[in-house]
């Protein structure tokens, strides 16, 4: 590792209740393209934020050319030679291409900007990438692909030693990706160290030299790309060092004997979002949705709940088609969704535990029939007891609870509205280990009470532990369905990698 331009040693970053990054080592050599991989929440973006100074690190060291650095913000890191290009281009769309390239570096004559020289410099910077566009037009009038290349050109023009590309290909088409790869290889040849974050594994094999995998904020390992088979890579990403959980549920083990409600998803799909998927669910059954990030797990949940509108297919409840034009319709039909991004889409942080719990029920009843305060209190107290929500009282703002307890409040919200189908998208993301077990236990109990559950998760041992059936997703498509004894981590990984 004598050649390492950027080294991270024992980096740690802790947020209240979560260890986002723990004891992570990372080495980037000059003249290599290094993939940084991991599922959502694995710590990729936290590591990048620690390197670039968005977050101060809580432990460890970051060394650039052997010198420890302490960037306070991305501007600092950029000044030191670490440039980052994000999926969402961080340039100014209303300014011209030339200005975006030359901001704060415009050539001046007698204290005033010389536009002629500035534009020529901008053109020269783009030439190094083989990009020939009108630098006077606003950046926003170009495609995202070009904007991204402009961002890279700016980074290169700033004499970057390290270039971090955070999901740069997510919104590019095939040809644009090839252009990007060509430029990445050229920059590698010039001695730049490139960190490439992506969730497209074929791209990892197409362009990278080495791979570092993170999981749950910890380092899994660094591998030479040529020597790592794709199935091993997926194994590393999804993880399986936990022993296979023996408490495996089988269909016949369910304890639910009530009326069987059937939910049938038939060819539900949306162009460019999800290939048509069919899936049957019934009361008292847990169906797991497995797959890598971007495989269509979240998209399927959103289509069923009406957050995104499907353009093909239907969902039937007991044989009757269900209107799924908006979450409102879905809630009326008895569907519930605990979204992946709890803070953004789930809780209303400023409202109290009680108010959050009655939200869905109130929505279903309509605002003209308010739930009496005493009844709300009853619901809230019952749920705090039943789910073991750790809160001093029902009036505490939800935002002040820990992640696990927030998740329980969202579960409680759906439980009081007595749903038929509950969709859980990554229910255990960002929750500490103790609460994790609680949530899994709750999911099983809910099922026994007669709910149909659809649970999307990137944690295989979790899915294996509770699912009666598993739908495996890959490339926005359902590729396999496993039942009963077939549900093992090996089988799921094989279905994903096939």
């Amino acid at each position: 590792m004598s050649n390492a331009v950027l080294s991270v040693r024992g980096a740690g970053k802790f947020f209240p209740g979560v260890k986002a990054l723990e004891d992570v080592d990372f080495d980037l050599e000059a003249g290599e393209i290094h993939a940084l991989l991991g599922e959502n929440g694995a710590g990729k973006s936290t590591l990048i934020k620690v390197i670039t100074g968005v977050h101060p690190r809580d432990a460890g060291a970051v060394l650039l050319d052997g010198q420890e650095i302490h960037p306070q913000h991305p501007g600092d890191a950029q000044g030191l030679g670490i440039s980052t290009v994000y999926q969402e281009v961080n340039l100014v769309p209303t300014l011209s291409v030339a200005e975006n390239l030359m901001l704060e570096r415009q050539t001046r004559k007698f204290g005033l900007i010389s536009w002629k020289k500035t534009e020529a410099d901008a053109k020269a910077a783009l030439d190094t990438l083989g990009l020939d566009i009108d630098v006077n037009r606003p950046l926003g009038s170009y495609s995202v692909a070009i904007q991204q290349l402009v961002a890279i050109a700016r980074a290169v023009a700033l004499d970057a030693k390290v270039l971090i590309l955070d999901e740069p290909t997510a919104s590019l088409d095939g040809e644009e990706i090839q252009t990007l790869f060509r430029i990445m290889r050229e920059l590698r040849a010039k001695g730049l160290g490139i960190v490439f974050v992506t969730h497209f594994l074929d791209q990892v094999y197409a362009v990278t030299d080495r791979i570092t995998v993170l999981r749950n904020g910890r380092l899994v390992g660094t591998f030479v790309t040529r020597e790592l088979a794709q199935i091993d890579l997926i194994n590393h990403m999804l993880g399986r060092e936990l022993a296979e959980v023996s408490a495996h549920r089988h269909q016949d083990e369910g304890n639910y004997n009530g009326p069987i409600r059937q939910i049938q998803i038939k060819n539900l799909g949306k162009k460019r979002v999800l290939e048509p998927v069919s899936l049957d669910l019934k009361a008292g059954e847990i169906v797991g949705l497995a797959g890598l990030l971007g495989s269509g797990r979240t998209e399927l949940s959103e289509l069923v709940f009406g957050t995104q509108r499907a353009d093909s297919g239907l969902v039937f409840l007991d044989g009757e088609p269900v209107m799924l034009r908006s979450p409102r319709h879905a809630i009326r039909s008895g569907f519930g969704l605990c979204p992946e991004d709890r803070k953004q889409d789930g809780i209303v942080a400023e409202l109290s535990v009680r108010e959050n719990i009655v939200l869905a029920l109130q929505g279903r009843r309509g605002w003209l029939r308010p739930i009496p305060r005493a009844e709300q209190q009853q619901f809230a107290d019952d749920m705090i007891m039943a789910l073991g929500i750790a809160t001093p009282d029902s009036e505490k703002p939800v935002g002040q609870l820990s992640g696990g307890n927030q998740q329980k409040v969202i579960l409680a919200r759906w439980l009081v509205s007595k749903p038929i189908l509950l969709i859980l998208d990554e229910p255990t993301r960002g929750i500490d280990v103790g609460a994790h077990a609680d949530i899994i236990k709750l999911i099983k109990e809910l099922c026994d009470e007669g709910l149909a559950l659809l649970v999307a998760s990137s944690e295989l041992e979790e899915i294996v532990a509770f699912a009666d059936r598993v739908a495996v997703m890959r490339d926005r498509e359902k590729v396999s369905e496993l039942v009963g004894a077939e549900i093992t981590q090996d089988n799921i990984i094989e279905a994903i990698a096939r």
Partner: protein
């Protein structure tokens, strides 16, 4: 060659100005006289000077509601310094400019350092300055000094019957100064960057806080200058002067083609915008049969049109964040 998208709004502004002026010349022969032009430049001088400062504020994505009160406050302060303390008006004007800039900087520091909505801080500034006016003086007082008389008497003749007054000349100098700052200094370009996308500007290494403080300082300076011009022009001070001028200035900026959300626009556009508002007023005065409130109706209609036009242009941009549009 395709015309750059950035010029669409200012071209629309120019078209409106030409149409209105052309209509005036077509309807009223006297409209073509340079006398009308000279009067337009003089009567709208203080508005346009303020609006130049407002252009920077709006380009940065902010707003400054304190400028109207600032004009009145500076007038009252000038009257007190000249009549009360017997100071020379030029010295009084210098002090006024420093006080105005300092107050702008003060608001800028609060806005930048505490990350507070500029709307609410400058609203507080608006009430505060208006209140201070009454603390100094309750009535309209004249500013009596030979220099003030000389200032309002100074005229450069134009071809025809018109002339440029000192106010108009100062205003034109301000516009040129504004253009240079906006387009030929790094500070000016940084203002555009912050208004276009503040988060990105920060990541691009732009000193966001200090730029914002300087923007409000500049607006304080220009509104104080406007107050000085207003005081010299009217040779009096009145605590209730220039009520609502902040809104006229905002209207001039928007009609001039500057994006109300920031990041796009031209100081020259603001000049045209201010002149358009003056032309509408003059047209209605020439007509004689229309109530003067028609000015407001016309300006309102123009604002509707320009805001929709801006929206159409920025909506075609990719990578424009929801917050930035």
């Amino acid at each position: 060659m395709k015309i750059n998208e950035r010029f669409y709004p200012i071209l629309a502004t120019l078209a409106v100005l030409v149409l209105l002026y052309g209509y005036g010349i077509f309807e009223h022969r006297a409209f073509s006289d340079t006398y009308v032009l000279g009067a337009l430049l003089t009567d709208n001088a203080f508005l346009i000077i303020t609006a130049v400062g407002m252009t920077f504020v709006i380009l940065s994505g902010g707003i400054d509601l304190s400028v109207g009160s600032m004009i009145a406050f500076i007038g009252v302060l000038m009257a007190e310094l000249v009549s009360g303390f017997g100071m020379h008006p030029v010295l009084a004007a210098l002090i006024s400019l420093i006080v105005g800039s300092a107050f702008g900087a003060f608001m800028g520091v609060i806005i930048a350092k505490f990350d507070i909505q500029p709307f609410i801080i400058t609203l507080a500034g608006m009430f505060f300055l208006r209140g201070i006016c009454f603390l100094i003086n309750l009535d309209s007082v004249p500013i009596d000094h030979p220099f003030v008389a000389a200032f309002s008497g100074f005229k450069v003749p134009l071809p025809g019957r018109g002339w440029l007054t000192a106010s108009a000349l100062l205003m034109l100098a301000t516009v040129i100064g504004g253009v240079v700052i906006a387009h030929y200094t790094r500070f000016g370009r940084n203002v555009y960057a912050i208004g276009g996308d503040r988060h990105s500007a920060e990541l691009l290494g732009i000193p966001v806080d200090s730029t914002i403080i300087r923007v409000y300082t500049l607006s304080g300076f220009f509104s104080a200058l406007s107050g000085v011009v207003f005081a010299f022009y009217t040779a009096s001070a009145y605590p209730l002067a220039a009520v609502g001028v902040e809104l006229d200035a905002i209207a001039a900026v928007v009609i001039g083609g500057t994006l109300l959300t920031g990041g796009m626009g031209f100081v020259m556009g603001t000049f045209f915008g201010g002149i358009i508002m003056g032309v509408i007023q003059t047209l209605i005065a020439f007509d004689g049969s229309l109530n003067s409130w028609w000015t407001k109706i016309m300006i309102g209609a123009l604002l509707f049109g320009f805001i929709v036009l801006q929206r159409l242009i920025t909506r075609s941009f990719s990578g424009m964040r929801a917050g930035a549009t």
